[in-house]
Symmetry: C2
Subunit: 408 residues, 2 copies
């Protein structure tokens, strides 16, 4: 009979194998070595039920206000399973989203310094010094091997580190935040990774929209807040995109000459050609060809400035990639099936599934442009990757881990 194990927080056993801090407010460097461990994992693998493979781990890197939340909603919509409403009873400020299949962890929870401490030390949340990568690595590794963790919570409302929450290993684990690809140890645990790359022009326009219109900030304060983050962003966040399986670039449209409104977006999905197990890039028309495509106006309604797709091989950092690009906006989502029908390597289960997903979530932000469309395509790719793993293709170090949902 399989034996289940729980690695709880508040342990007195300090062997530094799977780190679980006793309290989140202990997350200072000197407390990092307070770990709980019954016994090294490798000796215990055989004791787990191995009915399904270990969780597929997905990293989603992006700055704040870049649409991660919408992306996660599309992702969990594809995976299916209702959100578990009871998880956040413990702490309503928990950042973790849990559904039947998926757990989304916000990496802000691995902040090493709270808001006050960052201010005192003059360190932004973007700086690696403000984040606990050792703990992040150990806990993600634990989850990947099928062990539950007690993860700290960074309270975005108070700016403080709250007491930890118990997280069980899910089928699909998503790490969203500023640094999922920063630490090479964490990176090596990922099966798939996405970098949301919002161009400065669009980011500025979005922040103005949110911070000025919705929060009453001044244009100058928005500009100053972006400027204050820029140097750390350039140094620690942006370089991560070279490691991502796919990068989603959001840029100003090229369909409107001298556009300053930034309402119409050009979105580019930059997909690695090789090196990502169980993933094949999406393309239009013919693999390896460079194609630009303005869809037939009789089949796809689009008002000014129209819609244009592009697809082709490019070089991105050191990698060969396939780029899929969409510029413009959809007028009628139900016509999307025409576009869907011309995409190859889309990991749908039936013809029209992308369109069905888009229609189902039509009230989500970006549904009429490439952000929503490509988020949906990526979500389907991740589902496919998960299913290939589940069917025994193997992933990472191939540890088979049973469902731990019932462990305590």
């Amino acid at each position: 009979m399989p034996i289940s194990m729980v690695f709880r927080a508040n342990s007195i056993n300090h062997t530094p194998f799977f780190p679980n801090p006793t309290k989140t407010h202990f997350l200072s460097p000197q407390n990092l070595l307070h770990f709980y461990k019954k016994t090294p994992l490798k000796n215990h693998i055989g004791e787990f039920s191995c009915s399904s493979p270990g969780p597929v781990v997905v990293g989603l890197a992006a700055d704040s206000g870049c649409g991660k939340t919408t992306f996660m909603k599309r992702l969990t919509s594809v995976f299916g399973g209702a959100p578990k409403a009871d998880h956040n009873h413990q702490n309503p400020d928990s950042n973790t989203l849990i559904t039947d299949t998926t757990t989304v962890i916000c990496l802000d929870d691995y902040h090493l310094l709270d808001r006050k401490e960052r201010k005192e030390k003059g360190v932004t949340a973007l700086h690696p010094r403000a984040n606990n990568f050792d703990l992040m690595f150990e806990q993600i590794k634990a989850l990947k091997h099928g062990f539950p963790i007690e993860k700290p919570i960074y309270n975005h409302a108070t700016g403080l580190l709250d007491p930890p929450e118990l997280i069980h290993p899910p089928k699909i684990l998503v790490l969203e935040g500023l640094h999922p690809l920063y630490d090479s140890r964490v990176r090596d645990l990922l099966d798939f990774s996405i970098y949301l790359d919002i161009s400065n022009e669009v980011k500025f326009s979005w922040k103005i929209q949110r911070d000025m219109a919705e929060r009453g900030h001044s244009l100058e304060s928005v500009r100053a807040s972006i400027q204050a983050r820029k140097s750390d962003f350039d140094a620690y966040i942006e370089p991560q995109k070279q490691y991502a399986s796919v990068v989603m670039e959001v840029l100003p449209t090229q369909l409107i000459p001298d556009d300053t409104e930034r309402k119409v977006l050009r979105v580019r999905l930059i997909m690695k050609e090789s090196g990502v197990k169980n993933f094949q890039p999406i393309y239009i028309f013919d693999e390896g060809s460079t194609v630009s495509w303005v869809p037939c106006g009789r089949k796809l309604t689009c008002s000014y400035p129209g819609i244009k797709f592009f697809c082709g091989p490019e070089a991105f950092f050191e990698n060969e990639v396939t780029v899929l690009e969409m510029d413009g906006e959809f007028d009628k989502l139900e016509e999307l099936v025409y576009v869907e029908g011309h995409l190859c390597n889309v990991s749908t289960k039936f013809y029209g599934e992308v369109t069905q997903q888009m229609l189902k979530n039509c009230d989500f932000e970006g549904s009429n442009n490439g952000t929503g469309f490509f988020q949906t395509l990526i979500a389907l790719k991740i589902r496919d990757l998960y299913e290939q793993v589940a069917m025994g293709n193997g992933v990472g170090d191939g540890v088979g881990v049973g469902s731990l949902a019932s462990t305590k």
Copy 2:
């Protein structure tokens, strides 16, 4: 038992129904009314064997030195049937090309004025006054209705009008020359028409190549000869392209910035969307979409400056057209099957037939660029059109005419 009829020249019956001049040197306007006719055709249709429909009539308009001969070779190669070597025994200077299936008539044979007369009157061969459209119409009409004609011969060597030759109605009748689309009566007899539109830059470069390198003319004399024809060309030849079923434009490449060599060509096939019975335009990827395509370099070898295709709907004169464009040159013709596989509405009988035709005629001029490729595509389209007619779809006024090859 079907009765066959021959409308011979040298008749004394002058009813102006199917004109056959008694002698070609009588081709002055006052002799146009010397016709031979047994009885009006409509009363005789029932007397012909109707095993096959009337000849499909194809017009090919182009200036001299624009590659009509190569085009005709590709056309007859697709239609099959060996050239009939014995036809020209009568007059070795006959311009007519006859195979088992196809007869190609050169419309120069309808010159009204010989070279000397044109010179005396200061009229170029491009001017309608130098051509006998009444006779052209009557004779093409006769052939289309299944009657043989005695057609004049313009002797390109002597510049004189030679005695006529007997032409039987073929399965496919091609009218090649300067004015197949000039006269609306002749135009109405055509089932399909092509205008070869060589841009001035390319034409100049071709003429220099031919007239300077091969015939020892000076650059100035080449320039002067083009200039001398320009005004009539613009007035009487070029306007015909608005009537063509397809226009094949040959332009300088856009792949080499500031190209002056004119070796690499950009070729555009402008195909009418509607109004041409039994013809559907070729397209790439998706009908009605605008697509530019740079083929995958791993599947299609191409050295500098590469190959680029384009396809999309456009407006041409008053018509909606589909434009298929190829810029660049093929390195390896056998790889063409990859391009062929991505074309839609190509009227092949089996996968790879375009490539097979191109390989078979690889020593023809233009085989490595869009001229040869598109000539082959058009030839297949005409074969398809012929076969649709033969299968009873009907063409023109739908006159069914039996083989008159054995008539005397």
